[in-house]
């Protein structure tokens, strides 16, 4: 078979899609330029006035020292205190100190809701409330590799002003601000399961440091509450414990606070009801902010000024800066909290409200000017509007200073309005797209889908014609030309445009070539309108509506169900499901369409109906493993999604454990059973070693690991050390066993056992041609069933040529080959099994049930396809191995279905970060390994179905109709026997073209879904839900495609590997037997 051309074509298709995705995403996801300038004391006030001293840094500030306690994920709800609540839940009323202080000392303390900007991940938030700028979507991915903040920020300014900043807690800060702290005590933050290390580390150090005098700003970042949320969710006794601890900390800090010190207690973000964060729901964005000062800082509560309830997170930056008497960071777009400054009537120390606002306005204006000169993404009309507003404000303020009167309330209001509108303008323009790139990406993807379709329809012609070379060369040339042109004209070359031009040119050329060589009528568009492709169309259309994306799991299941019912209905419509009525046999034979014997039809349609039933049952049961999006109001996430360690009821936990264990063993047993049934476990190769030993061993490791991780922490105190060790060793052992298995599988994928029977009478000088029997079973009956007299047509023919004289049937030496009939599918099934186990290990334990369903459903689809193609084998005119659209669509949609049914959702907060800690409970040092683990966890169903995709080609051969013709023609031994997958060796041309066709169809279906979600993002880019629904969906769909296509290539490569191994086997056999 043609191995290299098939792989090259597939690789090329994948590359085309990657370039399309890259182009579109480059134009769609927004980027903000970072302004790397810093403010200094000199540029704060100079032209403002002469009334205040020219250099305000040296003026005595309103607050000398600040203690900032950051309690990660301190949700606004946690800080509220309701004395009337008699039976508070674990997270309610646990921080009474905040409420008590605000009510008893209203001029010293305030409690606000502190609203973060999405994304609500810790690193983004730290950046947000130190630089005061707004994040963009592109920042999301950096959570693992937090690198230093280059923009101007509070910490930098504090250092410039000579303030001693002492930091302790979450070590993210140290990587963000390396060498900026006077003293820092970082503690590891990555291990989500560890509730106490960071907090206890802070508690040991904070009070001695506070009592000492070697600090001006003290930052302490507690992580316990956040980790508790991640691990147990907010509604858990551990949360109450943690919050009570925080209450104690705040109390003792307040007790030690001096009069010139400000205490800031804040949460960086909130959390959802399940304890996750990252999105933009109000539960995630609303944190608490508590301000307390030893001396009265706030106006009396009866002042006429209406204080805001909600404070945006960026507003803390200018406020703290001006309170401490340092310049506001250059690119901050926040607005000072006026209530912390004295209204100008009584100006004892520090800045008055008017002055503070004016400084703020000037700083924001300067930033806007700098930014708009650097980047052109802020629209000119709103920029000019802002400029006129600023000049008005400036005139009014300066005149009021000249007059010596305090700024009027109208002026204050207009300054606030200016700041608000700048913030809104920035927010809007940092959500700005590059339409040209988006259009190019769309075009490339659209052409890519057409390409896939053409290749799948013309796979034979494409493989014969070697049509790839010219387009790729032309594409490279054009890409190079574009690059050279860009360098000449612009001075630099933009990668995306070169790639885009290259790929577009190659695609166009390929399509043109295909059009020329395509036989007439092959590419008719009418058979596109069959039901399977209609389902695909519906699926793609559903990606264009936010409601359907939100309930995507159910939509996919609905479509799959309809497609599953299509099989029996279609076969019945064609009259193939029931045996042909007996009246027909009286007709003359010439008119009679060839039909299968009734018993075979009955058996096959029985299998078909049973498989449909299993498929439907799997679909229905898989609905109970779904997780919930925040948009789905009354929805309960599946109970199987909670890790066992979180389940509090011990009986329920045991039940879950037993269920998971049962499905795990069922998974291993079914694989073993299948391999044994087809005789693939007889040889002594390493592959069998994998199946016989590694697979069960790995499952045992997993079962033990689940048991260990499910034990509550405090049950076996004396065994704690051992348990901790087991939590590291067991999963790593399972991973390495599985990895070893896959490696061995790759090295020697053959599962064939050859048994040579000594010839009875081999005395003749000329060896009679051997008679090959390939057997798949172990028992004699099974052997009879799977008898393969013709092992390999070509060998036989060559042998026949060699010694055509001796044809005595008894004199032939016979070679029996066990497992030859499933030589291609066995390694693939085994690989899927191993990978499935590995990915199951990355999931919560309860997902074992869902993985078992996945296995069952995949088997049901395969058998459905096999028996339907058996039933229609005599009717179909298509080429020998060609896989029709319906099973491929079914297979591909099942991948999306199980993406949802393994508890995943296309949203960022629902990513199961816990996967990164399986086997690494202490956290990681690098970023590659955790990212890989999380990717494997997220796209596990896509990976499994992608690797298993070639099985669709093999299964009809595995389930080939046995003994139909032999029984009729009286047991003819030659030619018509069951050869199973050896048919593929007999027709290598058709095999490679069918494989190419199948894979191209699979890629087409996945690519069409990517195209649809890209279209959705492009068309609905101003939609309310774009950042909440469509952009994450696009990211997930594109990543799923990339991961899936890589693993499709892996699956195809394994098939190639098996093929070459089989070829070598036959080569080895040939000289031996003909000697």
């Amino acid at each position: 078979m043609k191995r290299l051309p098939v792989l090259a074509l597939l690789l090329w298709i994948c590359c085309v899609f990657y370039v399309g995705i890259f182009l579109f995403v480059g134009g769609f996801l927004l980027v903000r330029l970072e302004v790397n300038r810093t403010s200094s004391c000199k540029d704060v006030l100079p032209p403002a006035s002469n009334s205040t001293s020219p250099d305000f840094c040296h003026e005595s500030p309103r607050v000398r020292r600040v203690v900032i306690l950051i309690v990660d994920a301190l949700k606004a709800e946690f800080a509220r205190y309701d004395p009337g609540n008699v039976s508070p839940r674990p997270f309610e009323n646990k921080l009474p100190v905040l409420g008590e202080t605000t009510s008893s000392r209203p001029s010293h303390a305030r409690l606000y809701t502190f609203r973060a900007d999405p994304p609500t991940t810790t690193m983004q938030r730290i950046k947000g409330f130190t630089t005061g700028s707004l994040p963009t979507f592109i920042d999301v991915g950096n959570n693992f590799a937090s690198s230093a903040v280059l923009e101007d920020n509070l910490i930098h300014q504090l250092g410039q002003a000579g303030k001693r900043v002492v930091f302790m807690g979450d070590d993210t800060w140290v990587s963000l601000f390396p060498k900026k702290f006077h003293r820092s005590l970082p503690f590891p933050s990555f291990n989500v399961k560890d509730l106490h290390t960071v907090d206890n580390g802070i508690l040991q150090n904070i009070f001695p440091i506070m009592d000492g005098d070697d600090w001006d700003v003290l930052i302490a970042h507690f992580l316990g509450v956040d980790h508790c949320g991640h691990r147990f969710g907010p509604d858990h006794p551990a949360m109450a414990e943690k919050l009570t601890q925080m209450d104690g900390v705040i109390r003792s800090v307040i007790k030690r606070l001096q009069d010139d010190t400000l205490l800031v207690v804040m949460g960086d973000h909130g959390m959802t009801d399940t304890g996750d964060h990252g999105g933009e729901s109000q539960k995630e964005t609303d944190a608490a902010l508590f301000l307390y000062s030893g001396s009265p800082l706030f106006p009396a509560p009866d002042a006429q000024q209406v204080e805001p309830e909600v404070v945006p997170q960026t507003d803390l930056v200018p406020t703290l800066a001006l309170l401490l008497g340092i310049p506001i960071p250059y690119s901050s777009v926040g607005q000072v909290m006026l209530q912390l400054f004295p209204s100008s009537l009584d100006a004892p120390v520090g800045l008055s409200q008017g002055e503070a606002l004016w400084i703020n306005v000037k700083q924001v204006h300067r930033f806007l000017e700098t930014y708009s000169s650097m980047a052109k993404d802020i629209p000119a009309d709103s920029l000019s509007q802002l400029r006129t507003l600023f000049s008005q404000i400036s005139d009014q303020y300066l005149s009021s200073i000249r007059d010596g009167t305090p700024p009027s309330p109208q002026l204050v209001a207009s300054m606030q309005e200016y700041l608000n509108s700048v913030r809104e303008t920035c927010r809007a323009s940092w959500a700005r797209f590059n339409p040209l790139k988006m259009a190019a990406g769309l075009l490339v993807l659209g052409f890519g889908c057409t390409l896939c379709y053409v290749i799948s329809e013309l796979s034979v012609v494409v493989l014969e014609g070697a049509m790839l070379k010219t387009p790729v060369l032309a594409g490279l040339l054009v890409g190079g030309a574009v690059a050279v042109g860009q360098i000449f004209i612009l001075g630099y070359a933009e990668v995306s445009w070169c790639l885009g031009a290259a790929v577009l040119c190659a695609e166009a050329l390929f399509l043109w070539q295909a059009r020329r060589v395509c036989p007439r009528g092959r590419l008719s568009h009418w058979h596109l309108l069959t039901l399977p492709l209609l389902m695909l169309l519906l699926r793609c259309a559903s990606l264009l509506s936010d409601s359907y994306v939100i309930s995507e799991g159910r939509v996919v299941t609905f479509l799959l169900f309809s497609l599953g019912l299509y099989f029996p209905l279609q076969l019945n419509w064609d009259g193939l499901l029931v045996p042909a009525p007996s009246t027909d046999t009286q007709k003359p034979h010439g008119l009679l369409a060839p039909s299968l014997p009734p018993s075979v039809v009955r058996r096959e349609s029985g299998t078909l109906l049973i498989c449909t039933g299993i498929l439907v049952a799997c679909l229905y049961l898989s609905l109970s493993f779904h997780s919930c999006r925040e948009e789905q109001g009354a929805c309960q996430p599946s109970v199987f999604l909670t890790p066992l360690s979180r389940v509090q009821d011990s009986r329920l936990r045991n039940l879950h454990y037993v269920l998971s264990l049962a499905s795990l063993s069922a998974w291993a047993f079914l694989l073993h059973r299948w391999l044994r049934h087809y005789g693939n476990l007889n040889c002594t190769g390493v592959c069998v070693f994998t199946a016989r030993c590694l697979l069960p061993l790995a499952s045992i490791c997993m079962g033990l690991h689940w048991a260990v991780s499910a034990t509550p922490e405090d049950t076996f105190r004396n065994l704690a050390e051992l348990i901790r060790l087991a939590q590291v060793i067991l999963p790593r052992l399972a991973f390495s066993l599985l990895g070893l298995g896959m490696l061995l599988l790759w090295l020697d994928p053959l599962t064939v056992f050859l048994k040579t029977r000594a010839p009875l009478n081999s005395r003749g000088s000329v060896m009679p041609p051997p008679r090959y029997r390939a057997s798949t079973g172990i028992s004699p009956q099974a052997e009879l069933h799977h008898l393969i007299p013709q092992l390999y047509q070509r060998i036989r023919q060559s042998l026949d040529d060699e010694g055509a004289k001796g044809t005595d049937p008894d004199g032939r030496p016979a070679v029996e080959a066990y497992g030859l009939g499933t030589v291609y599918s066995a390694p693939l099934v085994l690989l899927c099994g191993l990978m499935g186990l590995g990915m199951l290990l990355l999931h919560p334990e309860g997902m074992a049930l869902s993985f078992l369903l996945l296995l069952l459903q995949a088997a049901a689809i395969l058998h459905l396809h096999a028996s339907s193609s058996n039933l229609s084998s005599l009717q179909s005119q298509s080429s020998l191995f060609s896989v029709p659209w319906a099973p491929v669509v079914l297979w591909s949609l099942a991948a999306s279905q199980f993406f949802h049914a393994t508890g995943h959702l296309p949203t960022f907060p629902s990513i199961q970060w816990g996967a990164a800690f399986v086997g690494f409970p202490q956290g990681h040092t690098g970023t590659v390994l955790p990212a890989t683990l999380v990717t494997l966890n997220t796209f596990s169903s896509q990976i499994l179905f992608a690797v298993g995709c070639p099985l669709l080609l093999f299964w009809p051969l595995v389930c080939e109709l046995r003994g139909t013709r032999t029984s009729r023609s009286g047991g003819g031994e030659d030619g018509d026997e069951v050869v199973m997958e050896m048919r593929l060796r007999e027709n290598p041309q058709q095999f490679s073209s069918a494989l190419l066709q199948l894979t191209a169809r699979y890629l087409f279906i996945n690519g069409a879904q990517v195209l649809a979600s890209v279209c959705a993002a492009a068309i609905l880019r101003r939609h309310l839900m774009v950042w909440k629904v469509f952009a994450p969906k696009l990211m997930f769909e594109a990543s799923a495609f990339i991961v899936g296509s890589v693993f499709v290539l892996v699956g195809v490569a394994l098939v190639m590997r098996v093929d070459s191994a089989v070829a070598r086997l036959f080569q080895r056999l040939l000289p031996e037997s003909s000697r």
Partner: protein, 219 residues
């Protein structure tokens, strides 16, 4: 001959379509506060009843159903009982299918069952009237060469249209439009009824259009 048969079928279909209309009008005149969305089940059952009555009457009068070999009372009675059992079974079957399609299992089970009754009335009842309680014949009719008369073809078309209509009716349910007809099972039952009416209209037209290609084996 074609003309006669088609005309006969068209008038029978007109009667059936009329029965849907009557089924909607009767409760509108007799029941207080009636609306198709608000008191949906009333509408549904009244349509079911009217369609069932008209269906049975029309086919009994026309004598389409296969000629029975025996004319004894007990045989007829057993046929009747078997038909009733089949109808009930088909209701249960549709209920199961609808639940498997994603309807909630316990909540609003009555609504789901009512939809199943409607679907059975629109599809199974016609099968029962035309082919008798004979599952083999039903399976035979729904294959490409299975139709043996214009009536069989019309049965294929109307049944297919009703089921597809109900299937399409499920599409608007997840949308966030908050319309009264998105409530379960309003859109599905409206879809099924709409599909049925479309099928009634389409069948004579389609048969007339394809009368050259249609060849029926003699019974």
């Amino acid at each position: 001959m074609w003309e006669v048969e088609i005309r006969g079928m068209a008038s029978a279909h007109a009667l059936l379509a009329g029965s849907v209309l009557v089924g909607s009008l009767v409760p509108a005149l007799s029941v207080e506060n009636f609306s198709v969305y608000g008191t949906h089940l009333v509408w549904l059952y009244s349509v079911c009843g009217c369609v069932a009555i008209v269906n049975i009457t029309v086919f009994w009068l026309l004598g389409i159903s296969p000629p029975t070999k025996k004319h004894t009372l007990s045989y007829k009675l057993s046929r009747l009982i078997r038909s009733c059992v089949y109808f009930l079974l088909s209701c249960l079957f549709f209920h199961t299918v609808v639940v498997l399609y994603g309807a909630s299992l316990l909540e609003s089970a009555l609504e789901t069952f009512s939809l199943a009754v409607l679907l059975s009335t629109l599809t199974t009842l016609r099968c029962l009237c035309m082919l008798g309680p004979n599952v083999q014949a039903w399976i035979r009719v729904f294959s490409r060469d299975g139709a043996m008369s214009v009536w069989d073809t019309s049965l294929q078309i109307t049944t297919g249209c009703s089921v597809v209509g109900a299937w399409l009716g499920a599409f608007p349910i997840p949308l966030d439009w908050d319309r009264p007809w998105q409530v379960w099972p309003v859109s599905c039952s409206l879809g099924a009824t709409g599909g049925f009416l479309t099928g009634l209209l389409a069948a004579p037209i389609w048969i007339r259009w394809h009368r050259k290609q249609l060849t029926y084996k003699l019974k």
